[in-house]
């Protein structure tokens, strides 16, 4: 039983003459652990930006649960259960982690437009925010300003924030990028503990993480899907090795 939750059809994105995304047709099944790998500059982040509405595509379509969302704004895609984390933290520096997550929950619950009721009076939102932060090991710093948190903690908040929207499809853009070695296991633990019913598309450079986490891998090279397969297929594919080694040579 394989239901496609996220799909792209002939997706293209040009920056001037440069084709950053070249005719990508991707299918992600419900509950999948799908990894997107490829050398630097392969267009992985551009593809995520197209999927989440940060960038409009030049051509092609994006479908979420069978519905065309190509022209939907980001916030509407989030409302429909598609959200993401960013490769470089995109947080609200002036906020505390608690405020950050509380706002995301308030928006999910549809009370973000409420003008006059103090957000502190929504005790359910505060409770949920506190428990979410506790799950991510952020309870001890929930009242600090985000900008002064250690990088690893900010990284965890980045993921917790995506969780606060209760996504059905979660796109993780290099969740462990830049995290110091001693804080890395926390991030990896969170990623591997993601609930099974959440579909995950993971961009990652760390091949150990990809091979241990993913059940399906797409390799992106020069904006196009180079190959796609199971972990076993990809890890034994000499062409994939060549792409990576070629880049490093």
């Amino acid at each position: 039983m394989s239901e496609i939750v996220l799909e792209t059809r002939n997706l293209k994105r040009r920056f001037g003459a440069f084709l950053a995304t070249n005719d990508v047709s991707l299918k992600v099944e419900r509950g999948a652990r799908h990894a997107l790998i490829g050398p630097n500059g392969a267009g992985k982040t551009t593809l995520i930006n197209l999927l989440t509405g940060v960038l409009p595509p030049s051509e092609g379509q994006v479908l979420l649960e069978g519905e065309d969302i190509t022209s939907l704004a980001s916030f509407k895609r989030v409302k429909r259960g598609l959200t993401r984390t960013f490769q470089i933290n995109q947080l609200f520096n002036e906020f505390t982690p608690l405020e950050t997550v509380a706002l995301a929950i308030a928006e999910r619950e549809g009370v973000g437009h409420n003008l006059f009721k103090s957000i502190s009076s929504y005790s359910k939102i505060t409770d949920e925010a506190a428990s979410l932060l506790a799950q991510f090991g952020l309870a001890s710093v929930m009242g600090e300003r985000t900008t002064i948190l250690p990088y690893g903690k900010q990284r965890l908040l980045e993921i917790a924030l995506a969780f606060a929207s209760k996504p059905r499809v979660l796109l993780l853009d290099e969740p462990a990028a830049g995290v110091p070695e001693d804080e890395r296991h926390e991030v990896l633990q969170i990623v591997s503990d993601l609930p099974a019913d959440v579909t995950v598309l993971l961009i990652e450079h760390d091949m150990d993480l990809v091979f241990s986490f993913a059940d399906r891998i797409s390799v992106l090279v020069a904006g196009a899907v180079f190959t796609e397969g199971t972990v076993a297929e990809i890890s034994s594919d000499p062409r994939v090795k060549a792409v990576y080694l070629g880049e490093n040579a």
Partner: protein, 345 residues
């Protein structure tokens, strides 16, 4: 640092200590700060202690309301505007015309001016949704200039360059007559400033207010937590226009005159300067800035009537050199010192 002990998104078993600390932290955001009490006590005390200074106190209260309304768009939503006086001026003309032709009762005029300015805010808000800060500066500046020219050309209605006069507001709500010394006028403006500030304060601590700050802080991420940014900016801009219009109405009603100067560019610049002085993003910056700006302007125009603009300019340069961030935060040092006992960290 605690390790992750359970899979994410399972039933929460958060310690009650964490939950109650979270509740305390959230409540702490909206607690009444020490400086807030000082502001209102000082404003009332001024009424009794400075009976001969009612006109300048009234001027401060009006400018403060105008600046607080701008802070809602600038300090919260991060929308820069050089045309905020379009709403102030429209409110002044509406209140003046209403008093001249229809109803001279001030509160009615205040509300009608607020509503009509709000409508203009709503209509023009769509122009500031696109583009960068620079585009917005130019768009808002353009709207302000157009309004000024419309008022100038429609002399049959607005009195043109001569201004609008010949009206005098009746007793407020039929109860409080304006007096010769401006005491009623001051209390009236202060009351409107207080109610306006309290309404905007409630907005500041609501989910809506928090979402505005998220839009200002990181618009891309705000979208990714489902904040409909455009809708929020339209609403914030409209509310700001309502209160700016009310500030304009207060000026018209307390002076019984509407000069074309209410739409002049320098008013938009002044109110921005007020916020630069007082700091943005916490509303009271508009009040502190208005007090400081009005007093310094008054003082300079007495000691150096010809060159006071030079010193205002110099002050602006010094303020910017000191640093905007530090400025926006100066008042935060005060409440922290007075609220240590609340703990929470």
């Amino acid at each position: 640092m605690s390790l992750v002990q359970e899979p994410a998104m399972t039933a929460p078993s958060t310690s009650p200590e964490t939950t109650s600390r979270a509740a305390a932290l959230m409540k702490r955001r909206s607690r009444i700060r020490f400086y807030e009490i000082i502001v209102w006590v000082a404003a009332i005390a001024a009424y009794f202690l400075l009976p001969t200074k009612m006109l300048i106190l009234t001027e401060i209260a009006i400018l403060a309301l105008f600046a607080v309304s701008l802070d809602l768009v600038l300090g919260f939503a991060g929308i820069v505007s050089l045309g905020h006086t379009a709403f102030f001026g429209l409110g002044a003309y509406v209140a003046g015309l209403l008093a001249l032709h229809y109803v001279a009762e001030p509160v009615t005029g205040l509300i009608v001016a607020g509503v009509i300015s709000g409508v203009l805010g709503l209509l023009t808000s769509f122009l500031i949704l696109r583009g960068s800060d620079l585009t917005r500066l130019m768009t808002t500046l353009g709207i302000g200039l157009m309004m000024a020219e419309v008022a100038n050309q429609m002399a049959w209605l607005t009195g043109g360059a001569d201004g609008l006069s010949g009206f005098s507001p009746t007793a407020i709500l039929g109860l409080f007559e304006f007096d010769l010394f401006g005491q009623t006028g001051y209390l009236y403006c202060l009351a409107v400033l207080f109610v306006g500030t309290m309404i905007m304060r409630a907005i500041a601590f609501s989910p809506f207010g928090l979402s505005l700050k998220a839009i200002k802080g990181n618009p891309m991420r705000a979208g990714m937590i489902a904040v409909p940014a455009r809708k929020r900016i339209v609403i914030a801009y409209t509310i700001a226009a309502v209160f700016a219009g009310m500030a304009g109405a207060l000026l018209a009603q307390t002076t019984s005159f509407v000069s074309p100067d209410v739409l002049a560019f320098h008013r938009s610049a002044d109110v921005l300067l007020v916020l630069v002085i007082g700091g943005t993003g916490y509303l009271y910056g508009g009040i502190f800035g208005a007090v400081f700006f009005t007093l310094i302007k008054d003082w300079l125009s007495v000691i150096t009537p010809q060159y006071w603009m030079f010193y205002i300019g110099l002050l602006l340069v010094i303020l910017v050199l000191i640093g905007r961030d530090r400025l926006a935060r100066w008042v935060e040092y005060l409440p922290e010192r007075f609220s240590k006992k609340e703990g929470g960290q």
